[in-house]
C-alpha cells in the first residue's frame, strides 16, 4: 500500500508538523506562564454565538468593507481549500484515497466551490497586494512578513490551479466539468502539446509544490504575525462579552501579592498573551487612535506587537519561570510616554476585528508605574493629594461640595425622611459640584427634574469623587479607598437608582462599584431626559433653529453603548442636528479620558483642537455635549481656534432646559 512517495511525504510532513508543534507548544507554555489571572469560561452559549458570527461569519472583519470582503474571501477559501489539502495529504500517504466516497454529487459540488474559491482567493491576494504596495494606507505597515504571506498564498492558489489543469489534461477525470476554471486553464495549456503521461507527472509535481508550500507555511506561522489564523478564533471566544466593562480590581487584602500592576510582560494574563498572538497588525486600531492621529508616540498596534516581541525576547527565562530574569515591559520601544498618551477612549478595541483589549494592558502598566515606582507626570501628584485629602481631583474643600445648589430646591439625602420614596439619587460629581461651567449644567438638570416631578436628592457633602481619575491613572489603592467610602454611604441610604450627568461617574458607578458591594441601577442624565420626553413628562418645543452637532463622550458611547438617548434629546429640541465626520462608535475622543484631563499635553498636536476642528467643519453654531470633561476640552479647543464667541458648547441638559417653557 505504501510506496516511496508516501514514505517521503510521511518523513517531510512528520518533520514539519513536529517543528510547528514544538513551536506551538512553546507559545502555549509562554501564555500559561503569565501570572495574571482571568476567568473567561462563563456564558458559553453567547461565546459560541459570538465565535460563529465573527469567525465563520467574519462580522467584525467586514466592518471595513473592501478589505473585509477580501479577507472573508481568503478565509472562506482557506476553509474549503483546506479540505482539498487534506485530501492531497491522504492520497499521497495512501494512494487512491479520495473524498469521492461522500457521494458523486456532493464531491463534484465540493470541487466546484474549491475551484471557484481558488480563483477568488487568488484575486483577493492580488487585491491585498495592490492595497499594500500601491494604495499604501497609512495605518498598514509595509513589512516582509505581510508580503511573504501574500506571495505564498498566491503561489498556493497557482499551484492548485496548475495541479488540477495538468491532471485534467492527462486523465480527463469524470469530475472534469466540476472544475470549470482549472478546465479552462487546461485548455489554455493545450498548446504545450504534452502527452498524458507528462501532463500527469506535471500535475503531481504541482500537487507536491502545493503540499510543500502548505507545510512550509505551517512551520512559518507560529513565529509570524500569521499566527492570527490559530489565535484569533480562541481570542474571539474568550472576548469580554458586551460593551460595558469595568477594570479588574486588585485584592489589597491578599498579603501574598507583592507586585501591583504590570512591570514585566508576564505580570499580564494568558488572555493578554492570546491578544498579542491574535494581532496580525492590520492597523485598524492605529487608524482610529486619537493619540496616534495627533502625533503622539502611542500606536495601539505597536503596543501589542511590542508586548509580543518582549515576550519572545524573554522566551528562555519565561519558559523556565525565572521571572527575575525577565526584562521590564517599559523599554526603549514601549516607553512610558506611550503608556501616558492613552485617553482610554477605546476606539482601538472597538475597531479590532479580533477583539484585542488594549486598554487593560495600558491600565495595568500604569498601576505598576504609579503604585510600585511612583513614576507619573508630576502634575498628577497634586491630583492624587487633592483626592486623598478632599476627595476631589481639584483643589476645593469638601465643605463646599454642595455650594452649587445652596439657592436651589435640591434636597440632601440626610434631610430626606423616607429615602425609599425617592426616584433617584442625583450623583453630582466633582465637575458638577466645583467647576463653574458645569455647575450651570447641574442647575439646568435639576430644573428639568423638578419640572418633570422626579423625586431626587443628592448626597451633598457626603459625596466623594468616584475615584475614576485615580483608577485610570493607575492609583488603584486610592480608587478603592474612595470607592469603598462611597459604597458605604450609598448603601447606608439604601440607594437603588442613581442618575448622573458625568459619563465617567456613570461608568464607574455602573460597571465598577459592583466589585465593592455597590449594586445600583445607574443611568446617565441623557437617558433620563430621553425617557422623560418619551413619556411626555416634559414637552420640549422643537424650536432651536441653529445648526447643532452632538459630540459623543467615549464613556457613554464606546464604553456603554449609548448613542441614541443623547440624540433623542437633541432631536426633540433642535431643528437642524448635524453629525460630525466621526460619530457614534467611530467618534473621536476629546482628549480628556484616561486621566488625561489632569495631565499636560506636551507631545504632538492637541487632541481637543483636532476634535474641535471636526465640529467646526459641520458649520454648527452649537456643540452639544453630555460630559463635563468633553465640554471643557471642546471649549478650550474653540478658544484655540478663536471661535469662542461664535460657537457655543452646551450640555444637553442646558439645551433641553432652554426649550422648556415655564
Amino acid at each position: 500500500m505504501f510506496n516511496f512517495e508516501s514514505l517521503l511525504f510521511l518523513i517531510i510532513a512528520g518533520a514539519a508538523f513536529t517543528y510547528a508543534g514544538i513551536q506551538l507548544k512553546n507559545l502555549f507554555l509562554l501564555a500559561k506562564a503569565h501570572q495574571g489571572t482571568e476567568k473567561r469560561c462563563d456564558r458559553l452559549g453567547e461565546r459560541i454565538t459570538l465565535t460563529v458570527l465573527n469567525v465563520l461569519g467574519q462580522k467584525a472583519v467586514l466592518q471595513k468593507k473592501w478589505i473585509g470582503i477580501l479577507h472573508a474571501t481568503i478565509f472562506w477559501g482557506f476553509l474549503l481549500i483546506t479540505i482539498g489539502t487534506l485530501e492531497q495529504f491522504l492520497s499521497t500517504l495512501i494512494p487512491g484515497v479520495s473524498f469521492e466516497f461522500l457521494g458523486k454529487t456532493f464531491y463534484s459540488g465540493l470541487l466546484w466551490t474549491q475551484d471557484l474559491f481558488t480563483v477568488l482567493v487568488f484575486l483577493a491576494v492580488l487585491g491585498g497586494a495592490y492595497r499594500r504596495l500601491i494604495v499604501k494606507p497609512a495605518y498598514v505597515t509595509l513589512n516582509k512578513d505581510a508580503n511573504f504571506i501574500l506571495l505564498f498564498t498566491g503561489l498556493l492558489m497557482i499551484s492548485i490551479l496548475l495541479m488540477n489543469a495538468f491532471h485534467i489534461m492527462g486523465a480527463h477525470p469524470w469530475y472534469e466539468n466540476s472544475l470549470p476554471f482549472s478546465a479552462s486553464l487546461s485548455e489554455g495549456l493545450l498548446f504545450l502539446n504534452l502527452d498524458p503521461h507528462t501532463a500527469l507527472l506535471l500535475g503531481k509535481t504541482f500537487k507536491w509544490v502545493h503540499m510543500l508550500i502548505v507545510l512550509g507555511f505551517g512551520m512559518y506561522i507560529p513565529s509570524s504575525k500569521h499566527l492570527h489564523v490559530l489565535a484569533a478564533g480562541p481570542n474571539t471566544f474568550f472576548q469580554t462579552i458586551g460593551r460595558s466593562k469595568g477594570m479588574k480590581p486588585i485584592d489589597f487584602e491578599d498579603e501574598t501579592l507583592e507586585q501591583y500592576g504590570t512591570a514585566k510582560v508576564t505580570d499580564l494574563s494568558w488572555k493578554d498573551a492570546l491578544d498579542y498572538y491574535s494581532c496580525t497588525e492590520c492597523g485598524r486600531c492605529q487608524e482610529v487612535c486619537p493619540a496616534w492621529n495627533t502625533e503622539k508616540p502611542l500606536s495601539p498596534k505597536k503596543l501589542i506587537s511590542d508586548l509580543k516581541y518582549n515576550l519572545f525576547r524573554n522566551k528562555e527565562a519565561v519558559l523556565k519561570k525565572d521571572y527575575e530574569a525577565v526584562s521590564d515591559v517599559i523599554d526603549h520601544e514601549l516607553t512610558s510616554d506611550v503608556i501616558w498618551s492613552c485617553t482610554s477612549c477605546r476606539a482601538c478595541e472597538i475597531a479590532c476585528p479580533v477583539f484585542i483589549e488594549h486598554t487593560d494592558k495600558i491600565y495595568d502598566i500604569r498601576r505598576d508605574l504609579v503604585m510600585m515606582k511612583s513614576e507619573f507626570p508630576s502634575e498628577v501628584q497634586t491630583v492624587f493629594k487633592n483626592m486623598e485629602t478632599n476627595a476631589t481631583p481639584w483643589a476645593f474643600s469638601a465643605d463646599d461640595r454642595d455650594a452649587w445648589c445652596e439657592d436651589l430646591p435640591v434636597k440632601k439625602m440626610n434631610e430626606v425622611s423616607s429615602p425609599e420614596e425617592l426616584d433617584y439619587l442625583l450623583w453630582v460629581g466633582c465637575a458638577g459640584a466645583y467647576d463653574d461651567r458645569n455647575k450651570k449644567v447641574l442647575r439646568s438638570f435639576t430644573r428639568i427634574l423638578n419640572k418633570a416631578d422626579v423625586k431626587f436628592a443628592i448626597l451633598g457633602k457626603e459625596e466623594q469623587c468616584t475615584g475614576d481619575p485615580a483608577r485610570r491613572i493607575g492609583n488603584e489603592y486610592l480608587f478603592q479607598t474612595l470607592a469603598t467610602a462611597n459604597v458605604e454611604t450609598l448603601n447606608r441610604y439604601s440607594v437603588k437608582k442613581v442618575v448622573t450627568a458625568c459619563p465617567h461617574c456613570f461608568n464607574t458607578l455602573k460597571n465598577e462599584y459592583g466589585d465593592f458591594g455597590g449594586n445600583y441601577e445607574v443611568i446617565h442624565h441623557t437617558q433620563l431626559m430621553a425617557d422623560l420626553i418619551q413619556s411626555g413628562k416634559i414637552k420640549p418645543s422643537q424650536s432651536l433653529e441653529q445648526k447643532i452637532t452632538y459630540h459623543d463622550s467615549c464613556y457613554l458611547g464606546r464604553w456603554n453603548d449609548e448613542y441614541s438617548a443623547p440624540r433623542k434629546v437633541l432631536e426633540s429640541v433642535a431643528k437642524k442636528p448635524v453629525e460630525m465626520k466621526a460619530h457614534h462608535d467611530q467618534s473621536m475622543c476629546c482628549g480628556a479620558g484616561g486621566g488625561r484631563m489632569w495631565m499636560e499635553e506636551t507631545l504632538g498636536k492637541r487632541i481637543n483642537v483636532t476634535r474641535t476642528e471636526q465640529a467646526l467643519e459641520t458649520g454648527a453654531s452649537v456643540v452639544a455635549s453630555g460630559c463635563p470633561f468633553c465640554m471643557t476640552m471642546i471649549s478650550d479647543g474653540l478658544k484655540t481656534k478663536d471661535h469662542q464667541d461664535t460657537v457655543l458648547v452646551k450640555d444637553l441638559a442646558e439645551i433641553l432646559d432652554d426649550s422648556l417653557t415655564d
Binding site: 507583592e258 510600585m372 511612583s374 485629602t389 478632599n390 483643589a395 474643600s397 469638601a398 489603592y477
Partner: protein
Amino acid sequence: MNIYVCIKQVPDTETKIKLNSDQTWIDTSGIKWIVSPYDEFAIEEGLKVKAQFPESKVTIVSAGPDRVVDAIRTGLAMGADTGLHIELPETADHFITAQAISKALQKEEKVDLLFCGKEAIDDGAAQTAQLIAAAMDIPALTVILEAQYTENSVQVKREVEGGTIEVLESSLPAVIAAQKGLNEPRYASLPNIMKAKKKEVKKVSLADLGMSESDQKVKLKNFELPAPKAAGRKLDGTPAEMAAELVKILHEEVKVI
C-alpha cells in the same frame, strides 16, 4: 549620618477655618490634616541625603497631639526609617516646641543634619527652625533652595528678599530650613505605604523631658475670623472717567491717597 526631619501637621490648604465655641482656638472637627508642604521638601531632602550616604538613618520628628502620628507615617511612607512623636498640646507655641524637640534629640543618637520647612503654612511664623538651632547651639540655614553635602559640611544657596541668592557654607551638625524649589517631594509607593505601617514611632511626653505645659511663653487669649471680603466693584465709563472715579474712591473712601 543621623538625619532628623522636623515636620508639622497642619490643616489642608482648602480647609474653611472655623473657631471653637469660646473662640480660644480653631474648631478642629472635620479638618483634613496634611504635612505642611515646606516640611515635605524637608523630608525629601533628608531622603536624598540618605541616598547620597546610604548608611544614614532618617528620623521623622513631630510635636503635637496624637493625630500628628499620621503625619509621621506619611514621612515613613516616603521612605524615612523611624519616627519620634513628642506629645505636646494642640496650642503649643514655637518656643516650647523647639525646647521639647531639642531636649528630645539630646536623648537620641548624635544629630548630623536637621531639616525643617522654612515655615508652617498654618501660622506662617517661620520660627521653629531657628529656635531649635538656638536651643541646640548649632547653625541655622534658612530658606534654602539648593544644598550640597559632604560628610561634615554643607554648602547652601539661600533666598534673600529681592530674589538675591546667598551662598553659605557651614559645618555639621546644622539646621536646614527648606524653601520651595529645593526638590520635588516623591509620592509614596504602595509597598512603602504598607511598610510604613509597621515602622516604629517612639513616643515621648513633656514629663519625660523634664518639662511642663507651663514652660509655654505665649498664652492664647482670643481668636476672631477676618471680616468677609467685600464684593468687587466694577467701574463704568470711558477710561478717563473710570480713572477719575478710581482716584476719588482711593482718596475719599479708602483714604490711601
